[in-house]
């Protein structure tokens, strides 16, 4: 790690001011991604602003039935919170599918949203990488790209967003609350992360100097009709090759509201709300599930080593929809897929 100076913020305003005064600074939450990247010198901030003392740990009920999760609530605290387990079990399940108990204890809600890709070349400071060093090229295109994107890929960067939690948040129509030098604002979850476009170095739409203060989860009608299905190289403590967060509101065997978010397939947690809406009022069943999977994967394109992800994603979507429709969400302990 390269030397840096250390600054502890006691209030959100202080953190924002410190960020504004030090363009070379980075915020430190759980540190599980930032410290890792600093050890590899993928990032080397001149200053660290520790935000762990900010009063952003609370999980609170809002009058409209929504739940507000503070940006510093740990991944464990959220996953095991009784209200989250009862009203947003999809979120709890997705968090428990990721990382390890130790990492989830340290990792925070805000940090999870801002974790960076696990593309091998992004970590390898000797390799060209447009995300780490804009304009240097993309080593994954034509290189080792088994874990890379099949949707929304781009000639500048084919990396994927690695989070499990964010896939569930995308399905749950979450709102991200941020605060910056210009004041507070809200960002719809699907607008928070971005496709690589011509600025692959930017993972999200946060403006300079803004910090995430919390998330707001609106109430949902899914009950047990949800699942988080994660497919990976080993059964635990591994990032997703493909993951699916599915939730369906069903009435008399027909789809009222369909949500399917995909992880491990794109530069952002992937959701196609237009495609979802085409299936309103369709009968629940295998042929509908197959059609949904085909529809969501229109335009999917492999890069060679990751071609297998297209059929993996198709099968995972069908399985996930079956689990969600049956009200039998994937068990994150017993990994057998029903």
């Amino acid at each position: 790690m390269r030397p840096f100076s250390f600054n502890r913020a006691e209030t959100v305003k202080e953190a924002i001011a410190a960020l504004a005064q030090n363009p070379d600074a980075k915020l430190l939450a759980g540190g599980t991604n930032l410290i890792d990247l600093m050890k590899y010198e993928v990032t080397h901030p001149g200053m660290i602003i520790d935000i762990n003392r900010l009063p952003l740990k609370e999980i609170t009920d809002l009058p409209d039935g929504a739940l507000r999760i503070g940006a510093l609530a740990s991944n464990s605290a959220v996953a095991y919170d009784e209200r989250v387990k009862a009203r947003f079990p999809l979120l709890s399940s997705a968090i428990l599918a990721g990382a390890s108990p130790q990492l989830r204890n340290a990792a925070t809600t805000g940090g999870n949203l801002l974790q960076r890709t696990r593309c091998y070349y992004f970590y390898d400071t000797a390799a060209p990488c447009n995300k780490r060093a804009p304009g240097s090229g993309c080593s994954a295109i034509g290189g080792v790209n088994r874990i890379h994107a099949i949707l929304g890929a781009n000639p500048a960067c084919i990396a994927v967003h690695p989070s499990d939690m964010c896939v569930a948040l995308a399905a749950l129509d979450t709102v991200v609350e941020v605060e910056g030098p210009q004041g507070a604002r809200e960002i719809a979850f699907l607008d928070f992360h971005r496709l690589a476009g011509d600025e692959p170095q930017r993972d999200n739409t946060l403006q300079t100097g803004e910090i995430i203060t919390g998330l707001r989860l609106p109430p949902n009608p899914f009950g047990q009709n949800h699942t988080y299905l994660k497919i990976r190289d080993r059964l635990s403590y591994a990032f997703a090759l493909v993951s699916v967060a599915a939730a369906i509101e069903i009435d008399k065997g027909r789809i009222i509201d369909l949500r399917v978010a995909l992880g491990g397939v794109a530069h952002k947690p992937w959701r196609d709300t237009l495609a979802e809406r085409e299936f309103a009022d369709r009968a629940i069943g295998e042929s509908t599930f197959r059609e949904i999977a085909e529809r969501l994967l229109i335009g999917a394109k492999g890069q060679g080593q990751n071609d297998f992800k297209i059929s993996l994603a198709r099968n995972a979507i069908i399985r996930a929809l079956r689990q969600a429709a049956a009200g039998t969400p994937q068990d994150q302990t017993v990994k057998a897929i029903q």
Binding site: M1, P3, I35, D50, S100, P101, Q102, L103, N105
Partner: protein, 173 residues
């Protein structure tokens, strides 16, 4: 305490309780908790496996919660209480989890063991594991290159059994 600082580089003053003893430190901010423990504090029971959060060998308890000490800056923990393997028990007064690991031969080379034991102690306290499958899943943050997993799970199961906190008895896998 030994001072491993270089002149002219930033330092911070913090205090930590290490295995029950409150101590003051002057540190470079980039010192990880793991390097503080193994270096100046000479508490080498906590191991460095990967140094990147991928193996669990560096697991310690911070205010009772298990974390990977390789990914924590010591300065960010100012005021916290740290328990390492050295603080759980002593050769003459082993912690029940240490005893169970010995009894079940839950190691071969022993390199992952301090991390496994700290992790297992936290797992029991967290109370989310109620079956052997859940023990295995919630211990998945601790890798063992020697593959002592079966005996590790046996040791943890025994501790949970004696503490009567495991209502569901399952057949071993």
């Amino acid at each position: 305490m030994a001072d491993a600082r270089s002149p002219d580089l930033p330092v911070c003053n913090i205090s930590l309780s290490i295995n029950g003893e409150r101590q003051k430190f002057t540190l470079h901010p980039w010192t990880t908790l793991l390097d503080l423990l193994r270096g100046p504090l000479e508490l080498s029971g906590t191991k460095k496996g990967c140094d990147h959060g991928q193996c669990g060998a560096c697991t310690v308890l911070v205010d009772g919660e298990r974390i990977n000490s390789c990914l924590k800056l010591a300065v960010s923990l100012d005021g916290a209480g740290i328990i390492t393997i050295e603080g759980l028990g002593s050769p003459n007064g082993l912690h029940p989890m240490q005893e169970a690991f010995v009894e079940h031969d839950a190691y071969q080379c022993g390199y992952c063991t301090p991390g496994q034991i700290c992790s297992a102690v936290a797992l029991v306290k967290e109370g989310h594991a109620r079956s052997r499958a859940e023990i295995r899943e919630l211990m998945s943050g601790n890798l063992c290159r020697c593959g002592a997993y079966t005996n590790i799970a046996d040791a943890i199961e025994e501790v949970m059994d004696t503490q009567r906190i495991r209502p569901v008895k399952e057949a071993a896998e």
